[in-house]
């Protein structure tokens, strides 16, 4: 008996829209990410961009939305996603997505474009507690994008560049505008690009480690969200956590970390589809 269904997850973030196609089988408790796509929003209407990605993924996989997709789940700022079956809170989705990547994770840190959120989860991926950075862009992925643009780097280069640092200098971690001024000073002082980039990663990592402490986080810790793909950031978090006394944190990261919200939403979509089916509700 083939009980496999297809679900989709669309995660609308501050900078990017992420979409995944997932096969989900409740009977054998299995799922597989079949395809995925990311688009930078730029100055476009997110609703249209999201709709286009969904259509692209369906086309590429020879699937028909009405016939084949059991649940299209939105998350993040995705309330406006067309054709969605339901919406999931972003922390709920990231927690489940973190579990997808690392089933043993007890804490998930979503490091996104707008802010960093450290989330303590139970064995099913349910949110138990969380801490979140405050209202300053200096703790966000968007800040790294701004700095990389200023330094003439592609965002994909930032991680590797940071790994080459030998004597980083940390800019202000209180205000993004002050930090940008600091970076301009560092450039004029002749500091190398890797050392500047590593300093930026360290300034954000300081916030991450502080959140983990306030949360009384348990290890292992999954680093997800766009910044979770930045090897330099992962290294910076590991270094600072190591430096703290009485902390034995093990960090996990994935090159697909940016999809954690979308994957989590797609999996919760599959779960909800079966729940509703049990109750006799047809979607």
């Amino acid at each position: 008996m083939n009980d496999t269904i297809y679900t989709m997850g669309v995660d609308v973030g501050g900078s990017y829209i992420k979409c995944v196609l997932v096969s989900y089988n409740k009977e054998i408790n299995d799922h597989k990410v079949l395809d995925k796509q990311t688009e930078k929003i730029r100055k476009r209407n997110p609703k249209i961009v999201a709709s286009e990605i969904v259509t692209d993924l369906l086309k590429r996989n020879n699937l028909d939305y009405d016939k084949d997709i059991s649940y299209l789940a939105s998350t993040g700022e995705g309330e406006m996603v067309e054709r969605k079956t339901g919406h999931f809170y972003s922390m709920t989705s990231h927690s489940r997505g973190g579990k997808h990547f690392f089933p043993d994770a007890k804490t998930v840190v979503d490091m996104g474009g707008l802010y960093v959120r450290a989330i303590k989860i139970d064995e099913k991926g349910k949110v138990m507690d969380y801490k979140m950075t405050g209202q300053c862009a200096s703790g966000s992925g968007q800040f790294i994008e701004n700095i990389s643009r200023y330094l003439g780097l592609a965002i994909e280069e930032v991680g590797q560049m940071s790994l080459k640092a030998d004597n980083p200098e940390i800019p202000s971690g209180i205000c993004a505008v002050l930090a940008e001024t600091d970076v301009i000073n560092l450039v004029s002082k002749g500091l190398s690009t890797p050392n500047i980039v590593k300093g930026i990663n360290l300034s954000i990592a300081q916030r991450v480690v502080k959140l983990l402490g306030a949360l009384k986080a348990e290890s292992p810790i999954a680093l997800v969200g766009g910044m979770g793909m930045n090897e330099g950031m992962v290294q910076a978090v590991e270094e600072l956590a190591e430096g703290k006394k009485n902390r034995d944190f093990k960090f996990l990261s994935s090159k697909d970390a940016i999809y954690s919200g979308a994957i989590g939403a797609a999996l919760w979509g599959g779960f909800r589809y079966y729940k509703l089916k049990e109750k006799g509700v047809t979607l």
């Binding site: 922390m91 707008l114 802010y115 949110v127 138990m128 969380y130 979140m132 405050g134 209202q135």
Partner: protein
């Protein structure tokens, strides 16, 4: 979305219109802080105007941000009390929402200004600026602050300060002090505040007929019309309606998954946003420190000075961290609360209780969920809707 509504709201609009219209009469006007000795002032025949109410109006109309920079030009920092900066800025720009709403040209000119620092020192700076501007007599009451308990000595101290107001009030009002008038006014105030308490206590029911967001609107008369027949009559009517809704099992959210308490100031310009956010997520915000702050159990006509001194000194904001902790614990129990929102108002540290570990301590001791949200009473530049939505949604999910 439920079509539940509180019908007394229409009466409220007329009542507030009448209040502001009376401020334009030829009677003497006293300005007073919102938890100041309004009864004593009314007993001398003053119409009483409350600048904090105007501050809330500047917040609710989202005009505060236009006016705050005007005060900054005078040297006030942008992160001190946004009631103060918005109100002074509004005065300097000669613009006020009172014009559109009540046809007033501006705030009423004071004959006397009275403040009580039981809430904060900011009111002293704020009111003194206006006293200088209007060349108007000013009287300040400075009670002991941050108390565990209010002692007899504290009451004697504040009573004495109230009594020192009498010659000033007599001179400005040209009326002699009359203890019976004071008793009568205090009695009216007591009756109104008891009714207000009854109204808020209907929130103990499920479904609740009144939310915190409704309360923030319906509290208008207990703030500005304390000590009048009109306020008493209004709360009689409101209570009757709410009680009837309780008997009929009606509320603003018929089946709430969770019951929430709001700690701290309202974010005036976002009341509707928050109301919708919670209701859409099946969560009922049924009680608050803020609305409860105008319940004055201690008023007693037998000893009007001592009892009003006690009532105005034992208010939540004037208590120690430990006393506040106990009061909040009691409210959690009384209102069967699942979670508490702490509004960390960026320009009002006096009325923000999240900064010394209270949310965590309450969570550990009572088992409820707690959430700190950053914002402000008036200045929406300190508020991020996207970030707050994410936080609140997760908070609600944790309670379920």
């Amino acid at each position: 979305m439920s079509d539940y509504k509180i019908n007394s709201t229409e009466d409220l609009k007329n009542l507030m219109k009448g209040y502001f219209s009376d401020l334009s009469s030829s009677k003497k006007i006293a300005w007073c802080t919102s938890v100041g000795p309004a009864e004593l002032l009314r007993s001398f025949g003053f119409e009483v105007y409350f600048p904090e109410n105007h501050g809330a109006l500047l917040g609710a109309s989202r005009t505060a941000m236009d006016f705050i920079p005007e005060s900054v030009k005078l040297g006030y920092a942008g992160d001190i009390c946004s009631y103060l900066t918005a109100d002074i800025g509004s005065y300097l720009q000669k613009k006020t929402p009172l014009t559109k709403q009540y046809g007033m040209e501006g705030v009423p000119k004071p004959d006397l200004i009275v403040y009580n620092t039981n809430q904060c020192r900011e009111v002293q700076d704020w009111f003194m600026w206006f006293a200088k501007e209007f060349d108007c007599p000013i009287f300040g009451i400075k009670p002991p602050r941050h108390l565990d308990q209010v002692s007899k000595e504290d009451i004697a101290d504040v009573s004495a300060q109230f009594k020192q107001m009498i010659p000033v009030c007599e001179r400005v009002s040209e009326n002699k002090f009359d203890i019976d008038k004071f008793r009568h006014t205090l009695n009216l105030s007591k009756e109104a505040t008891d009714l207000w308490k009854d109204c808020l206590n209907t929130g103990k029911n499920s479904p609740s007929p009144i939310s915190f967001f409704d309360g923030a609107i319906h509290m208008g008369p207990i703030v500005v019309l304390r000590g009048t027949e009109k306020a008493k009559e209004y709360y009689q009517k409101l209570y009757k309606e709410l009680q009837k809704n309780v008997e009929n099992g009606l509320g603003f959210l018929q089946k709430a998954d969770s019951r929430v308490y709001w700690e701290g100031m309202p974010i005036w310009g976002k009341l509707r946003y928050f109301s919708n956010l919670f209701v859409n997520n099946n969560s009922a915000v049924v009680a608050s420190t803020y609305c409860n702050s105008w319940i004055f159990d201690a008023f007693d006509t037998k000893d009007p000075f001592a009892s009003s001194a006690l009532a105005y000194t034992e208010i939540f904001i004037n208590r120690s961290e430990q006393a506040k902790f106990e009061i909040l614990k009691q409210h959690i129990q009384d209102f069967n609360i699942d979670g508490m929102i702490f509004h960390d108002a960026k320009t009002c540290f006096n009325n923000s209780n999240a900064r010394f570990g209270m949310p965590l301590r309450l969570k550990e001791e009572t088992g409820i969920q707690t959430l700190v949200i950053e914002g402000d009473l008036c200045d929406l530049r300190f508020f991020s809707e996207g970030q707050t939505t994410t936080k609140v949604e997760t908070f609600i999910e944790q309670m379920n």
